[in-house]
């Protein structure tokens, strides 16, 4: 009873804290985009459209109004989830988010599975056999994975599995035919092809997914290896572990039954931070494998100096990040009753 009440209070406090955080993020983005010289219209279309046309569109979009008015307008738009329309190709940003965001979601979801399996597995082994060759090997593997840029691993994978072995396609989400034929329901190609019961499409989509997801997942997993190992070592020094040993519990049981679960609690916390790393990595992975995700779109719109599109994508990412960190904090508080306000 009391326990759930305090958890509820924690959730409410945490929710309230998320609001100023989001507001600060939004304000930073707004200021950044306005600090840049010139207005968005000129930046995106300047030189390609006559001056009167620029003037008209600037007025239409409201860029000639005082900054504070634009700022309030901007907050209102974000609150109603109205992200506007891109300047260079007139696409509603919601469409960019739904279509390209789905590609990113698919990539990051599978990458996260790879990361969890490889990271927790190897980290556990390294911590369990501390100071043995297994430990050293696991740690080195983790460090090297951490040290390798995603795009470099991608390059190596493309060379090996794409060019030399010829097992996997090196770019895109699916073959052109599949992309053309596949009926989209969710924009998640894996889900779509299952809904359609189109197994050859599913095979094609999964083949395209393997390399990017493995590369991104392994890099993220490298961080988990270090984390799980250190946490396991720390929990192994805990009194209750000592007590379990004293009772004559076997070392194996001590590690897996007593220490392991507690060693995973901090991993949940770090997963929140890792989510941001995951998104950063996704931008690079998408760029390496021509994956039409939201990161590729961001880079494309940046190159076209489309401030509206860039702002929309960044704001959307910010909202996602705040929501995810909120969820992870709540999950964490639920798992670990010591975390309360």
């Amino acid at each position: 009873m009391k326990q759930s009440a305090s958890l509820r209070r924690y959730i409410i406090t945490r929710l309230l804290l998320a609001i100023p955080m989001l507001w600060i993020l939004l304000t930073i983005v707004f200021l950044l985009m306005r600090v840049a010289p010139g207005d968005p219209i000129t930046a995106a279309l300047g030189g390609r459209v006559p001056e009167e046309e620029l003037q008209r569109r600037r007025h239409e979009a409201g860029y000639d109004r005082p900054l504070i008015v634009q700022y309030v307008e901007y907050l209102k738009d974000v609150a109603t989830l109205n992200f506007g329309t891109t300047l260079v190709d007139n696409r509603p940003l919601t469409e960019v988010i739904v279509q390209n965001g789905a590609a990113t979601l698919e990539l990051t979801f599978f990458a996260m599975i790879v990361a969890m399996v490889s990271g927790v597995g190897i980290g556990l082994l390294a911590g369990r056999f501390r100071d043995t060759p297994i430990d050293l090997g696991g740690r080195l593997f983790g460090i090297i994975l951490y040290a390798a840029p995603v795009f470099f691993l991608g390059f190596l994978a493309q060379l090996t599995f794409g060019k030399w072995l010829g097992w996997l396609p090196t770019s895109g989400r699916a073959s052109p035919i599949v992309t053309y034929e596949l009926q989209t329901h969710t924009n998640l190609f894996v889900v779509d092809s299952i809904i359609e019961r189109n197994w050859s499409a599913l095979r094609d989509v999964l083949l395209h997914l393997i390399m990017p997801a493995m590369v991104l997942g392994l890099v993220i997993g490298g961080v988990f290896i270090r984390l799980v190992r250190v946490n396991l070592l720390q929990t192994m020094k805990g009194d209750y572990v000592e007590a379990a040993r004293a009772r004559g519990v076997t070392e194996k049981r001590v590690v897996y039954k007593h220490a392991f679960k507690n060693a995973l609690v901090p991993v949940i916390t770090v997963m929140g931070l890792e989510f941001a790393v995951l998104l950063s990595g996704a931008v690079l992975t998408e760029q390496t494998f021509n994956w039409p995700g939201i990161g590729s779109e961001l880079v494309r719109y940046l190159n076209n100096r489309d401030y509206v599109a860039v702002q929309g994508i960044i704001v959307f990412t910010g909202i996602v990040v705040v929501i995810v960190s909120l969820m992870i904090d709540i999950l964490n508080a639920w798992v670990d009753p010591r975390i309360r306000y």
């Binding site: 600060i24 993020l25 390059f155 940046l302 705040v322």
Partner: protein
């Protein structure tokens, strides 16, 4: 305690701090010791490459023809004339890798300096003063920290490049934005835990001004963690620089050789089976980042009291006499 009352000359205390910081390194045994020294070795190798780049590299980083004006063959496989081959721009891959070390180290040092110069004092003040200032700063920094750092760096680099050139300084500034919140957070949290320690209270009770307390007592203690964060951040900063270069928001290719940019140009080579253009810059990144991470990890193992193993700890203590029971009696008597 007596030392504080006697107020020994500052010089001696400085040396003491340095020695105290170094002491765990000497006491370290086993794996951490090996890890730190291997890391230091790798890092030094790259520092040497960076300093003597013009002497070590066979050609200039943007040189695409011999002194006689004969153009290098494009994408030529490794040979005696070009040990690592040439890339799509007809430049020598080995030379670009060597000069890339210089770029990486310069940019990273610059960005670390900037982020420390801002993050450290802010964290110190916020942690020590507390109150509203602390809450506002914390919220602000947390918002920055939660956001994917690379996205921030890209946008900053892009915006800076609109007004300034895409130079080393813009890259360094864009990168430093990423690390300011980290320094702030670590320093602030540590300061808060140190703030209530008896020795800080004692200093305050003796009438030391807040500035003095912060500098002499709090900072001295907090600064011990900075080398760990700094080396780990340096490793991370190299990756961020490479990522910026890879996405085309790093340093102008005419200004300096940069590994990330080279890999971006090499991605399209992979389909043709050309491996040398991407492999060598990539390996350089992996090696340098690994080296720095090893130093940081090792330092962490050495300095973190929870997981450290020290030479002293290995010695088994002589069996204790049951005097533990006697002590409280003595004290009460």
């Amino acid at each position: 305690m007596a030392a504080q009352v006697d107020a020994p000359p500052v010089v001696i205390r400085r040396a003491g701090t340095l020695r105290r910081m170094w002491a765990p390194m000497r006491e370290a045994r086993g794996q951490p010791r090996v890890i730190v020294w291997v890391g230091i070795g790798i890092t030094l190798l790259f520092v040497i490459l960076a300093i003597f780049a013009p002497l070590i590299a066979p050609y200039g980083f943007d040189q695409y023809r011999t002194a006689e004006g004969v153009r290098f063959v494009k994408q030529e496989a490794p040979s005696a004339a070009h040990l690592f081959g040439t890339n799509v721009m007809s430049t020598d891959v080995l030379s670009r890798v060597v000069f890339g070390a210089r770029t990486a180290i310069e940019v990273v040092l610059l960005s670390l300096f900037v982020s420390m110069a801002i993050g450290l004092p802010l964290g110190l003040i916020a942690g020590y003063r507390g109150g509203r200032l602390d809450r506002v700063l914390l919220l602000f920094m947390d918002a920055l920290l939660a956001f994917p750092s690379l996205l921030f760096a890209i946008v900053i680099a892009f915006l800076l490049s609109q007004t300034f050139d895409r130079s080393m300084i813009t890259a360094a500034l864009a990168i430093s934005i990423v690390y300011i919140p980290q320094y702030f957070r670590v320093v602030r949290n540590h300061v808060i835990s140190v703030r209530e320690e008896p020795y800080v209270e004692a200093a305050r009770a003796l009438g030391a001004k807040p500035n003095v307390v912060m500098r002499k007592y709090v900072l001295q203690n907090v600064i011990q963690n900075v080398p760990i964060i700094a080396t780990l951040n340096a490793a991370d900063a190299i990756l961020t620089l490479a990522a910026l270069g890879f996405l085309g928001y790093g340093i102008q290719p005419t200004e300096a050789a940069e590994w990330g940019y080279d890999i971006q140009r090499a991605i399209s080579d992979a389909g043709a089976g050309i491996w040398w253009t991407g492999l060598f810059p990539g390996l350089a990144i992996v090696l340098l980042v690994t080296g720095l991470t090893l130093v940081g990890e090792g330092l962490n193992d050495v300095l973190n009291p929870v997981i450290r193993k020290r030479a002293i700890r290995e010695v088994t203590l002589p069996p204790r006499e049951p005097e533990a029971d006697a002590e409280p009696e003595e004290a009460s008597a």
